[in-house]
């Protein structure tokens, strides 16, 4: 009976079930990834030479007294064996307690809540900006002959190879120090978002544009494009309405990876542009060996990465229903 009902099930429901299974597997994998991240960061930081108590009380002019050292050691549970600390840590993690930051004396969750928004804003702005640049560059120039295509493709390769820190400094020098169009530092206004977003978006746009151009050029040679043209559609309409949808897939897949790249780039950009955010916080936390904060940020970044990839996976299927049929 089951087999017969299955055979006549609404294909939409079946597709949704397949999608759900897929999401479930991906989520379980994501949890494993998060556990691995927590464990790796914990041991990597604890096995680093140096006493975390002194990191807690450190600071270039901080000169901890014996009483202060002892008090800090007890407060942060550092007097227990490493294995015990690990188990206690995992237990608290399961309850959603990320602990207290050594350096900020604040709950890690609160630090993340305060700083996460700015980084989210920056990465989303960069991603959107990157896609805008990609669309502008590729849709308009693909298949336009060797000269235009060559120049555009060279531009993409160069952009893709620009390091964030270098680009950030150049943008600062030109648009903040020189032309004074944008503020060189800060995180309060939209104007202060422009330069960091561009310094993240340009290299990313280079990467995505490279793959998008290649697939767009292949698409433009397909018979259905010719059909569309014979229906009297304008060139740009053909490119945006018909060809683009086919050509987007590799770029979308790459965007999942890009979330990770953007967050690592955000560390650099937030430091250079003195912006708030978890990237700069991570940079400082690592320097101070602020274990709970480093793990907390790593977990959030990893979770963001996992989620983004699941989303991209689903988006992929939405853009190209053929993918689902292959999966089902």
């Amino acid at each position: 009976m089951t087999s017969t009902t299955l055979a006549v099930t609404d294909p939409r429901r079946e597709r949704l079930a397949a999608l759900g299974r897929r999401a479930g597997i991906r989520l379980a994998g994501g949890v494993l990834v998060l556990w691995a991240v927590a464990t790796l960061t914990f041991f990597a930081l604890r096995l680093m030479p140096g006493d975390p108590v002194l990191a807690i009380l450190g600071g270039t002019t901080g000169n901890p007294s014996p009483e202060a050292i002892e008090a800090a050691r007890q407060e942060f549970g550092l007097d227990k064996p490493l294995a015990v600390q690990y188990v206690l840590y995992l237990g608290r993690l399961l309850q959603g307690d990320l602990g207290m930051s050594y350096s900020q004396h604040l709950p890690v969750t609160r630090v993340l809540a305060e700083q996460g928004g700015a980084t989210f804003e920056l990465t989303v702005a960069a991603l959107v900006l990157a896609w805008l640049l990609v669309l502008l560059l590729t849709v308009v120039t693909a298949g336009r002959g060797r000269l235009i295509g060559g120049v555009a493709s060279l531009l993409e390769t160069v952009s893709a190879s620009l390091p964030h820190f270098w680009l950030g400094v150049v943008l600062l020098a030109v648009f903040a120090f020189g032309l004074r169009w944008f503020p060189p530092a800060g995180s309060d206004s939209l104007a202060s978002l422009v330069l960091p977003a561009f310094s993240l978006a340009i290299p990313l746009a280079g990467f995505i544009a490279q793959v998008t151009r290649e697939s767009l050029e292949l698409t433009l040679e397909q018979p259905f494009v010719l059909t569309a043209r014979t229906r009297g559609l304008s060139d740009l309409a053909v490119r945006f309405k018909h060809a683009l949808r086919h050509a987007l897939l590799p770029g979308v897949a790459l965007s999942g990876w890009a979330i990770g790249a953007l967050i690592s780039g955000a560390v650099v950009c937030e430091v250079i542009f003195s912006r708030k955010g978890i990237g700069r916080q991570l940079y400082q936390a690592v320097q101070l060996q602020d274990l709970p904060l480093v793990i907390g940020i790593s977990l959030v970044v990893a979770a963001g990465y996992v989620l983004a990839n699941i989303l991209v996976d689903l988006l992929y299927q939405w853009i190209d229903p053929r993918q689902q049929e292959a999966a089902a």
Partner: protein, 544 residues
Amino acid sequence: MNRPILPLIPLCAVLALVGCERAEQHTAQSTQPIHGGTLVYATDREPTCLDPHVAGDMPQVFVAQQYLDSLVSMDSHGQIGPWLASRWEVSADGLRYTFHLRRDVHFTDGTPFNAEAVKANLDHMANPKTQSSTAGGYIRQYRSTKVLDDYTAEVTLATPYAAFLEVLAQGFLGIQSPTALARSRDENCESPVGSGPFKVVRWDRQNQVELVRNPDYNWAPPTAQHQGPAYLARIVWKFIQEPSVRFASLQAGEVDVIEALPPESHEAARRNPDVDLIIAQRPGNPTNGTFNLRRAPFDDIRVREALVRSADVEGALKSVYFGEFPRSGGPLSVATPFYSGDFERSQDYDPARAAKLLDEAGWTSRDSEGYRTKGGQRLRAVVLIGARTPPSELTLWEQVQATTRQVGIELVLDQMSDAQVTSRQAAWDYDIRIGYWNTNTPDVLRIIFTSAFVQPAGVGGYHQNSSGYADTGFDALLDSALATQDAELRRQRYHLAQQQAAAQYLQLTTYPQSTRLGIYKTAHGVRLEPSLAVTYLYDAWVNK
């Protein structure tokens, strides 16, 4: 028998001269102060806690100076004056300090300032739970406070401590509302409460601290240039880590004042008609590399002097800091009370003397790379370089490395994480340790060079005397300097102490720590509080 010590005897002629030598210290003057307006201040490092009692790093005291008052004040000649305490007496044995307090002061949360508040503050600094490294460290002699009446507090110390009033003048020991101190440490870190000209309203981490004017303020110290509430309505205290970005923000007028002006920008700042500079040396032990006397090769005083003489610090300072940082040749920086200029030249570059000393010490043979050896061992010294050591400091040591090489000493610059530096320091596993100590008293020599501080401080093994120098005569000398309130006697004893520290070649001193402000044309009346050369915005105003 109590002996009133107010007014304190003016320190000495040397100090008066020193006052003039505090290079380029001037106040941006303009006609009439304007009430109201916001001053935007940008600095490099963000404090980890706004309460300066906790831990005690320089960024904390800079913010604290705006919202806290101290029990006593210190002027630019190192003289102690009244503030929240209007007068005081010290017992003949130097163990009891009786403070008579102002009666018209209250904190910005409404709590009155009284003897109970003094007790609560000193107890708070001394309490191990506060994890106070700086303030707590400076009052280790503190035993208890007795509230004699509402406005009289008697503080008892375990041993005589003549530097007590000096350290009380530092912002690190600023007086906070006892009501606020009764909250948890972390809560107090976030929103501390003082009686100062401004109050902290919001700390937006990694971005800024906002302070607003305290409208009731009417108890400014005698060192201030006006009385009553501050001129500024609001201060935005921003954190901009990158030096070039900070300076560019100043030039663009995005911020009114920047701190830690990078030395490479001094020249540009001087040429910019819109920008003023305030540069002042900080008191204490200047930036240095301290030698570890507890192991070879620096257990031999000849090798220590040889390293000092082989290092061309002047040359290195010129090339790294563009001549903007002067040389410090003695154990105390110029701005320290009881500083003596007699030892400034004891570290002058003299490679011939270095070579002679090394020959005498038996480091006569050379290996294939040209370094001196003795008994098959190369003459080698390891310098610990932590991750947060500024790149310019590292470059300075690279220059020193190049000059010591010429007389055959190999300097190894060992780069590692800061935590690793602290643990190597704790294990005495280094030859040279880079450091400095900002404080407004020559008693710093006791902390960094006497045997009491060789002992590991707690389980971490961290010790504040990183030279390992332990000499009973020197210990006794510094204790005796604390046992007298007589300024002339103190001066003599600290002179002897500086002499001995210099003659022992315990450190290669390089340059004094300094406060360097860049001030845009919109800001006026910005000054430095003299005890630690900390920015003080009470007299400041903006014209935008």
